[in-house]
């Protein structure tokens, strides 16, 4: 492809403690479909946000339709013909399809909106796409697949030249995926370029012309689809050999502490596993596979529909987080800013929130005892802060996560669920968190670990179950671990 319509050159974007993109360059030809692949956190969405103008890169250049930019703004990006379709649609549910497509566009006379014109225009776009949707239907009455088509139509109505699709097939059924692909092929034929982000490798081989692989914020590989096999692609996505970045632990694994039998609920279907003292059990799977959902059911934050949980051999019904805390089950949530911490609370209050009841006499908080407990945890976990009264919101990501950990250490949990414990945390703090998990194992705590970082989950866990679309797709012992195997279970191939 000689006539590139988009060249992104050496884009770098850093956040405190994390390099999200490091000198990443990509090109996109006219009418080309480029697949952008990589693990979660590889930098795909950051790159897209740079292109759409949602974030400003630290350095680098963007050449779009022959024009040079240092950074984009959402308006310039749109005007230059870039349209991004996110996983969460940007549609007004109660308005009609036609109104959504022409939202913010001027049609009709000077002051009045001409319904007939937009309906005709909408029909024309749908005719080109080869789909049949009544432009007068309210968007909320459409299925997810059709909503996506409306998003595409919206992009076309604005004369988009580059269409970015972020995991477009995630909510679709197989038949709907076929419809989507037919439309993508038509768009290609019309000279529209497409950036396609997906975890599903099969689709990439069906639809893409070229693949760019990102890993840890760097572009590590690029190839035409014809020169590529699935294995090569996976190898590049996963990348380097596992080095000794996961501290070893020598722990005698003890008796069974938690047993889950045929659990249904919160979107998960028929999950069974057991956890022993001193063991780390991994729950692997793609985003949306039902891992967090499972953790929340066990913790009592969501309802369990049916199934049985045994805690220390006794039947346990997870009815509320409060009950979980009383039974020494802890959850370190995925979204630490919204679910794990109260950001405007001082560190001290966050740490003691779950055990405050035990720190009181006649309802009054025993303040010296609270302070000494907090001071000990702050020094044990090396939380870097000038004072225990510092607001949690002012800490770095790693230190915030340590505060969440401290809260659960204070409870002295028997079972602790870590949901993406190291997401967005720098390498040093990650290592400290791993060491801490090992310490807990030595003390006989049973740990469940959810992670999208393949290396991490393979490095840290003793055993894992793999979920795929809410179903338990596989279970592996440590000696059976291989990235290819896990990926293929996770993508629902077996």
């Amino acid at each position: 492809m000689s006539d590139n319509i988009l060249i992104m050159k050496q884009i770098t974007k850093t956040y405190p403690g994390v390099t999200a993109l490091n000198q990443v360059s990509i090109t996109l030809g006219k009418g080309e479909t480029l697949a952008l692949v990589g693990e979660n956190g590889a930098g795909k969405s950051t790159l897209i946000k740079v292109l759409s103008g949602a974030i400003t890169p630290d350095s680098g250049e963007i050449e779009l339709l022959g024009k040079q930019f240092h950074s984009m703004t959402p308006i310039i990006s749109k005007e230059m013909g870039v349209a991004v379709i996110y996983q969460e649609f940007n549609l007004m549910p109660t308005m009609s399809v036609a109104e959504n497509i022409f939202m913010g566009e001027h049609s009709g006379t000077r002051y009045f909106f001409n319904k007939k014109v937009i309906i005709e225009k909408t029909e024309e776009i749908f005719r080109e796409m080869g789909v049949h949707i009544d432009p007068g239907t309210a968007v909320k009455d459409l299925s997810v697949a059709y909503m996506q088509l409306v998003e595409i139509a919206k992009a076309l109505s604005r004369d988009a030249k580059i269409l970015v699709m972020d995991e477009p097939t995630a909510p679709l059924t197989d038949a709907e995926v076929e419809i989507l692909f037919t439309i993508i092929r038509k768009l290609k034929a019309r000279g529209i370029s497409i950036i396609y982000i997906s975890h599903r490798l099969n689709e990439i081989f069906q639809i893409a012309d070229r693949v760019t692989v990102l890993r840890d914020g760097e572009r590590v590989y690029e190839s035409n689809i014809g020169d590529l096999t699935r294995d090569i692609l996976i190898r590049h996505m996963v990348g380097r050999e596992i080095k000794d970045q996961y501290p070893k632990r020598e722990v005698k694994i003890g008796d069974e502490i938690l047993k889950v039998e045929h659990l249904f609920g919160n979107g998960d279907k028929d999950i069974s596993f057991s956890l022993r003292k001193g063991e780390i059990l991994g729950i692997a799977g793609l985003v949306g596979a039902g891992r967090t959902e499972l953790a929340r059911v066990i913790f009592g934050a969501e309802k369990m529909d049916s199934g049985r949980i045994l805690l220390d051999g006794k039947e346990y019904v997870p009815s509320s987080p409060g009950k979980a805390v009383d039974n020494e089950i802890g959850l370190i949530p995925e979204d630490r800013k919204n679910d794990g911490l109260i950001l405007n609370f001082p560190i001290k209050w966050n740490i003691t929130l779950s055990i405050l009841k035990q720190l009181t006499r006649m309802m009054f908080i025993k303040e010296t005892q609270e302070q000494s407990l907090v001071d000990k945890l702050i020094s044990d976990l090396l939380i870097k802060t000038p004072s225990s009264m510092q607001k949690a919101g002012n800490l770095s990501g790693g230190n915030q996560q340590k505060v969440v950990l401290a809260k659960w250490l204070a409870v002295k949990c028997k079972v602790l669920i870590f949901d993406e414990p190291t997401r967005g945390i720098d390498v040093g703090a990650k290592y400290e968190i791993y060491k801490l998990m090992n310490n807990l194992c030595e003390q006989g705590v049973g740990i469940i670990m959810i992670s999208s970082d393949m290396e991490e989950i393979m490095g840290m866990t003793d055993r894992m179950i793999i979920l795929s679309e809410g179903v338990q797709a596989g279970e592996l012992e440590k000696k059976e671990y291989s990235q290819e195997l896990i990926l293929s279970y996770a993508s629902g191939n077996k």
């Binding site: 979980a324 109260i342 209050w349 309802m363 009054f364």
Partner: protein, 318 residues
Amino acid sequence: MKAARMVKENVVWVMLVVLVIMFSLATPNFAKPGNMITIFRQISNTGILAIAMSFVVISGGIDLSIGNMMGLCGMITAMLLTQSPLPIAVSCILGILFCGVLGMISGVLITYTKMPALIMTLGMSYVCLGWAFLTTGGFPIYGLPEQIKILGQGYIFGWVPVCVLILIAVIIIGALILNKTNYGRYVYAIGSNEEAARLSGINVKFMRVSVYVIAGILSGLSGILLMSRVNSGQPKNGNGMEMDALIACVVGGVSIAGGEGKASGIVGGMFVMGVLANGMAVMGMSDYTQTLVKGLVLIIVVATDSFTRTYLSKRKSA
């Protein structure tokens, strides 16, 4: 940045001092000890109501029914006092508990139907007002026993009003609960981030309901004091006072979004409102002017607070 934060945290006290100096200079009658005690007496009702409101607002809710609930409590207690053989203390306690039950109804409906607190308590406010009128067909209830007067009109040591002592007791207990107990910590927690509080094992539903019960009980207490002061049950007693209480809270630094607010600030807030009302009355300004000024004060304080807040956060991110 430090200066801005100092102003933000103490704006209510700065205002109070400025107001006191202003009124002292403007009229010689203001700064007299007798008038100071009058101010205390005048704020006892809204003061108790402000503490009630602060529990609800800090927890992330709002209760607009506590004003009219005062009137309803006064009517029901007055009826018990005049028409039943129950002892005075029992009648008063029943009146207060009745308001606690009304608060619980609001709390349960808000918590379990997830309806907005604003709407639920607005509805409850109308129910209370209507009910208060219906008890007697709109007529006040006179002829209360002599002893009940002591609450609203009595003095201890000849100069300390009983109602002021009750206010001080409510403030101290309220401040202790908010600052020193796990219950108070949970109130702040659910107002700051309900989901994180829930995932920390706090029984969020119980907390939600309980703050409305507390608000109801305090509103009932305030209603009985007012009934005693005017020596009769009046259906419209307390009408509109919930707004004065809310303004006192907000002026005192309670965030309407929940999770923020100090007992000391709320006390400052009630004094600002009390001094303002009293000073203007002493200067001979009309009720209408007072209402207008109250509105202006609310706007100025919240505008200053919001401005310094955005200013501070901009400085932080820069």
